[in-house]
Each structure stands twice: as C-alpha cells, then as structure tokens.
C-alpha cells in the first residue's frame, strides 16, 4: 500500500458520514414504523406479520449495505454468494420447521 493511495483513501472518506447517518435514521424509522403497525394498528394478524417481516428484511439489507459494505473486497462475489446461500438455508430451516411442525395431524 503506497503512500499516495492512502491519500486517495483519506480523501474518499473525508467529510460527513452521510451513509452511516442515513442508515441510522432509516433503521430507527423502520423500527418505530413496525412497532406502530404491530401495536398501534389492528390489521388482520397475517397482514401485520407479513408487513413487519418485510420491514425487518428491508432493515437487514440497510445494515448489510450501509454499514457492512457487503460488496467490498478483492472478489466480493464470494461473500455475496455466501450470504445469499446462508439466507437460503436459514429460510429453509425456519419455513420448513414451521411448516412441518405446525401442520402435523
């Protein structure tokens, strides 16, 4: 890592941390929105569940992109595929477990 690249890096990251602040504001807003939908409104249960789960997933992606820089690195495709596969398996275990165990005779 040569000195002048460090300079470039420094310049790139100078200034106000817009990304982080937007991330924080969005997550707080989404959290309160979800709370309001769940507790404040009285929508049908499955509608509420769908909305709040959707909001949670949206918020997770905010963290992933605003804070975690998932697309950064020498070959970011590896970690992106890894996380996607992880999401697939996690979805399989959650959805599968609920489907199997909640609907047995």
């Amino acid at each position: 890592m040569s000195e002048n690249q460090n300079q470039v890096m420094k310049q790139e990251h100078a200034g106000f941390p817009w990304k982080q602040v937007i991330g924080l504001v969005l997550s707080l807003a989404l959290t309160f929105l979800a709370l309001w939908i769940a507790v404040g409104l009285s929508l049908p249960v499955h509608v509420t569940l769908t909305i709040i789960v959707g909001l949670a997933i949206f918020q997770a992606f905010i963290q992933l992109f605003m804070f975690m820089h998932v697309t950064e690195g020498t070959e970011p495709v590896h970690q992106v595929i890894g996380i996607l596969f992880g999401i697939y398996v996690a979805f399989a275990v959650v959805a599968g477990t609920i489907w199997i165990l909640a609907y047995t005779i």
Partner: protein, 655 residues
C-alpha cells in the same frame, strides 16, 4: 468415607462386564506402552515439535487418517459384536443394554469419527496440492479443527469405560434421549463429544471453502479445477451451512439435559419431534458431506486409470451444485411417518427424487469416462469400479424410499439399514479406501502392495454384498433395526446367519488392508518420481512426500488436467522453472490448538458429569487460549533460498 469412594468408583467406572474390563486393561496397557516407547526412544520432543504442534496440512491430514483408521477399527468391532449377537434367534452374547450401547456408538463413530475425519484427512492431503497452494487458507485453524475433532472423539470413546456409553441410537431421538427417560452420563457424552468435534468440522468447512476460492494457482479458473477439488468446494459449502443447525440442536439437547429446559421433553410443552426435525436438517446434508468428496475421488481415479479426461466435466460440476442446493430441502424424508400432512410429505418426496437426477447423471458420466478408455485395474481403480454397481443399488433403493407411502413400509426396517449401508459403504467406505490407496504414495513416499490390496478389495467387496443384500429381504419380512434379538420361527434365521458371515468377511478384508499397510511400510515399492500412477493433476508434479512448502515455484496453469497436458506435450514443464527461487513464507507451528483442545476436553468431561467446578475452568481455558492467540503477531517465518535449493536438489528437480 471408603464406602462413598467405593460408590463413586462404581458410578465412575463402567463395571460388571468382562469385555469392558478387557478394554480397561488394554487401554491402560496401550497407554503405558506408548509412554514407555516414546520415553525410551526419546521421542517426546519429536512428537511435540513435528506432529502435535504442526500446522502443515499434509501432517494434519495424516493425523486425521490415523485417527479415522483407529476409529474404524472400533466401529467395526462394534458391528461384529452386533452381528454375532444377531446370528441366531434368542442369543445372549450381548444383553439388551449392551447391544443398545454398541449400535449407538457404532453409528455415531462411523459417521462422525470415521467418515468425516477420513474425508477431512484426504482433502487436507490432496486439495492444497491439487490447486498448487503452499498450505490451506488458515493453517492454525486447520490444526485447531483436527485437535477439536480428536478431543471430541476421545471424549466420546471414554464413555465406554468411564460412566457408561450412550444408548439412544446415533440419531439420539427425543424424548428417549432426554434426561427423564435416559438419566446418567451416556447421552451427555454423545451431545458433548459430537458437539466438540462438530465445531472443528465447521471450521474445516470455512477453511477449505476459502482455500479453494482464493488460493488456486494462477490460471486455474473454477472450471479448470480438478474434480476432487470441486467436490470439496461443494462439500465445504454444505458443511458450513449444515453444521450450525446441528450445533444448535445439540446445544438445545444439552441444555435440556443439564439445565432443565423443555425443548424436546415430554413435559411443559416440549416437542420431541422438533429434535428429529433439527437433527435431520443437519443429518441429510451430512449424507452428502460424506458422499460428494468420494464422488470427487472416484472422478480422479477413474480419469487417471482410464487414461482419459473426465467425460462431461461441466455437467459433473453442475450436478454437484444442484445436489448442494437440493440437499437442504429433503430432510423430512427421514421422518415421513411422523404424521405429516399429505402436502408436506408430497413436497419432500418429490424433492428427494429430484436429487436422484444429478446423482444418476454422474453415474453415466463415469461410465462414459470409462468408455473408449484404456482401463488399468489397479487397486484404487478396483475400488472405484466396484463403487458404480454397488452404489447404484443404494441409489435406486434410495429412490424407492423417497416415495413416502412406500416408505411407510420400509422405514426403520432392515430395508433402510441395507439402503444406507449400500450408499455409505459402497460410496464413502469404498471411496476412502480408494483415496487411501491412490494418495498413499503422496503421503508417505511408498506404494501399498498391489497383490495384498487386491485381495483385501475382493474379500471386502464380496463380503459387503453377502452382508447387505440379504438385509433388503429381512426388512421386507418385517425385521426392524436396533432389535437386540428376535424370536425363532419368523424365517429370519438363515438370512441373519448369512449376514453375519458377510460382516466377518468385511472384517477380514480390513485386516488384510491393515496388514498391507504394515507390510508395505517395510517392503513397499518406493515412489521416487512423485508420479507413480501416471497422474493428471498437480499433486503428482511435486515429490512424494511433498516438501513442507509443496511447490518451490507456484505452477502456472492453462488447462484442465495440467500434468496430463504436459505429458502430451501440450504445455511446458510444470516441474521446472527458470525463475530463481525466492524465500517462502510459511506459518509457524503452534501449541495453542492442542492445548486449547485439551481445555475443551476437560470442559466437556466436566459437563458430562455435571461437575461445573471442572467444566467452567475448562471453558475459561479455551477462551484464554483464544485471547492468547489474538496477541500472537510473530506467526510466520521464511524458508531461505539455500534450504529450498537443498530440498529440491535432493528430489532431483534442480537442474
């Protein structure tokens, strides 16, 4: 006082069975023997510096294989004891309790402590060499993985003489495996021993995944990788994503047993079926964890000894990718009969059948690799060839089992037992024996004797069929697994006698193989070229055994099967390079993995007996080791050029 000591000892040591006293004595004698030999020959320092603290993937691989062979011996003895008991109806060779422990340890050991470490051993040896790397991505973690596996295996095996063995089957179904119906330490050994080695497996998965995606030699794109490396890449993915579920399942069972939670209990709303669900969410991918690597081994061996490139390489790769995706959505077929609704069973029936398609495609690709080849019947090739028909039988019975309504008739019967042994022996065991013979010269620098190898192959393979083919009929006749005895008059007796004969035949085959290993160590043909088989991939371009740094120059690749291409004169010499040597960056040995695993063992043992005064300090020791490691900055060294020159000159590769 003396009374309480006596009663403690009675509870601590397993008593009352002459076979166990025999085991006590032989374990004590063997330990004393090892200590005496090491002391007499002043080998302690050598052992510590060269093996216990090593981070060299080749040595770690060898240690994995030695441990796996020892465990295979124990699991095999368990199997023979079971078969002896079942030879005739109403035998009393083992009583019910003892039989239950034996089949539990047999299953657990064979899957967790034989199949997995054997495969990890082979991939440790071959993968970095095949991709032209000097080590794995995380050598320290690699050593830690091995020692965690070893600690787990030792903890599990200790149950035989101290405290009592687990007896709820290798799948440890709740609620029978819970504290209520199964008090005592046996199941604690199971959950903790398997847990500790499982952590090591997860780390190995991450390690090899990163190694393969990041450390390939220049020019080796993903679709120029050897098939074994591909299979390990896919296997690593499955390990990484399947093991966390098992970690959780085992942890929850541990918490149930030790701290009175109610995940899988009968009481307070626990769900015993949840255990089955979580266990198989790991358990089914686990089947592919032990099968895909041997598919890779067979691909290598068949291509080498048919003297042809693998037929349909891309299709082979995509089949494995498909298997890795599908393997996570088929787990319910292990409990079709737990009262699931028709849509659930239908979904998992179909997904299970789907997974047969890529597997079938691979079989045909192997057959067509042989087609138009020049087949050479070496010992590794014999194992690979025997795999094709024998595994196909396991595969097609698997499809039969996948059909849920038919499975209602097969489930938990000997039909099932025969099926999974057909896949796991004809697949995994044939595969690891195949790989063992194939890479043995690369590990040790000499070949295993072909004549003895062939004898052991034929005896083992024929006995395997004598042992397991009749089991299909036994299952259809209504005999269920895990029965310690059966009544006369059901027509089961003659079949059981045949099965037992087959089992002992397999034992004989294994003994011949062990004899072959010992004999060849003394008289075996030395491998001076580094390429005894006429190999096609990079591991055969370096000497046997490979030097510490594997390759003095990292080879540059332009084709698939680079060594074969070189021999055909299509590319330049991979072995020689005009470039001057440069110092090679290597990781330092470290004692932390073995010490940390020692603490893990202590913690595990403490928790088995619910001795928190022992378990908690053990865990603190583990954390202390992690912290200590974090502060180590001086963790690598350089091999100087003159040392490389010396080593290379010794193998005759320095021009």
């Amino acid at each position: 006082m003396i009374e309480s000591i006596k009663s403690f000892l009675g509870y601590f040591f397993v008593t009352g069975d002459p076979m166990i006293y025999g085991a006590d004595a032989s374990i004590a004698l063997a330990s004393i023997g090892i200590v005496v030999v090491l002391t007499y020959f002043k080998k302690w320092k050598w052992l510590w510096e060269e093996w216990l603290t090593t981070v060299d993937h080749k040595r770690i691989g060898i240690m994995y294989i030695i441990a796996a062979l020892l465990m295979l011996f124990r699991g095999g003895v368990d199997a023979l004891m079971m078969r002896t008991q079942l030879t005739l109806p109403n035998l009393h060779f083992l009583n019910s309790e003892h039989y239950n422990q034996v089949f539990t340890t047999h299953g657990t050991i064979m899957i967790i402590f034989v199949a997995m470490p054997f495969i990890f051993g082979l991939m440790n040896i071959a993968v970095p060499l095949q991709i032209g790397a000097r080590d794995v991505a995380f050598p320290f973690l690699n050593a830690l993985s091995f020692w965690l596996f070893f600690a787990g295996a030792m903890l599990f095996n200790l149950s035989f003489v101290i405290g009592g063995s687990p007896d709820a089957g290798w799948s440890g179904y709740a609620p029978f495996a819970g504290a209520e119906l199964n008090p005592g330490v046996g199941q604690n050994y199971y959950v903790l021993g398997v847990q500790i080695s499982g952590i090591g497996s997860l780390a190995t998965g991450i390690n090899f995944l990163v190694t393969i995606i990041k450390m390939r030699a220049p020019g080796m794109t993903l679709f120029k990788m050897p098939m074994f490396t591909w299979s390990i890449l896919i296997t690593s993915v499955i390990v990484v994503f399947a093991f966390p579920a098992f970690t959780v399942a085992l942890a929850l069972m541990t918490i149930d047993r030790l701290f009175g939670a109610h995940f899988f209990t009968i009481a307070a709303g626990g769900s015993p079926m949840l255990w089955a669900n979580l266990f198989w969410f790991w358990g089914h991918p686990e089947v592919y964890i032990v099968l895909l690597p041997v598919f890779g081994i067979f691909s290598e061996v068949i291509a080498t000894f048919a003297h042809k490139t693998l037929f349909g390489y891309a299709v082979m790769v995509w089949s494995m990718v498909a298997i890795s995706v599908l393997s996570f959505i088929t787990w319910l077929h292990h409990f079709f009969t737990m009262g699931n609704t028709a849509p659930v069973n239908a979904f998992f029936s179909v997904s299970t059948m789907l997974i047969a398609i890529p597997t079938g495609v691979k079989i045909f690709n192997w057959l067509f690799t042989l087609n138009k080849g020049r087949i050479e019947f070496t010992t590794p090739m014999l194992w690979a060839l025997a795999f094709i028909p024998n595994f196909t039988i396991g595969g097609i019975t698997g499809v039969m089992l996948a059909m849920a309504p038919a499975d209602y008739q097969y489930h938990n019967s000997y039909f099932l037992v025969a099926h999974f042994h057909s896949t796991l022996i004809a697949g995994t065991v044939f595969g690891i024996f195949c790989g063992l013979h194939y890479w043995w010269p690369k590990m040790f620098g000499y070949l295993l004797d072909e004549r003895k190898g062939k004898w052991s192959f034929w005896i083992f393979m024929i006995s395997f069929n004598i042992c397991f083919m009749p089991m299909y009929f036994l299952g259809l006749m209504g005999m269920t697994r895990r029965m310690y005895t059966y009544p006369a008059g059901l027509g089961w007796t003659p079949i059981n006698i045949v099965i037992t004969i087959g089992a002992f035949g397999m034992g004989l085959g294994f003994i011949i193989m062990a004899w072959n290993i010992i004999w060849s160590a003394i008289h075996g043909k030395r491998d001076t070229t580094g390429d005894p088989w006429g190999g096609r991939t990079l591991e055969w371009t370096t000497s046997s055994p490979a030097p510490e740094y594997n390759f003095a120059h990292i080879p540059e690749i332009s084709t698939r099967d680079p060594l074969a291409a070189m021999k055909e004169g299509k590319t330049g010499d991979l072995r020689k390079s005009s470039k001057p040597y440069e110092p090679i960056h290597m990781p330092n040995n470290s004692g932390i993995p073995v010490i940390m695993s020692g603490f893990m063992f202590i913690a595990g043992f403490g928790f088995v007996f619910e001795w928190y005064w022992m378990g908690i300090p053990g865990l603190i020791g583990v954390v202390a080791c992690m912290i200590a490691r974090s502060f180590v900055y001086n963790d690598h060294h350089y091999i100087p050029v003159d040392e490389i020159e010396k080593t290379e000159a010794a193998t005759g590769r320095l021009s």
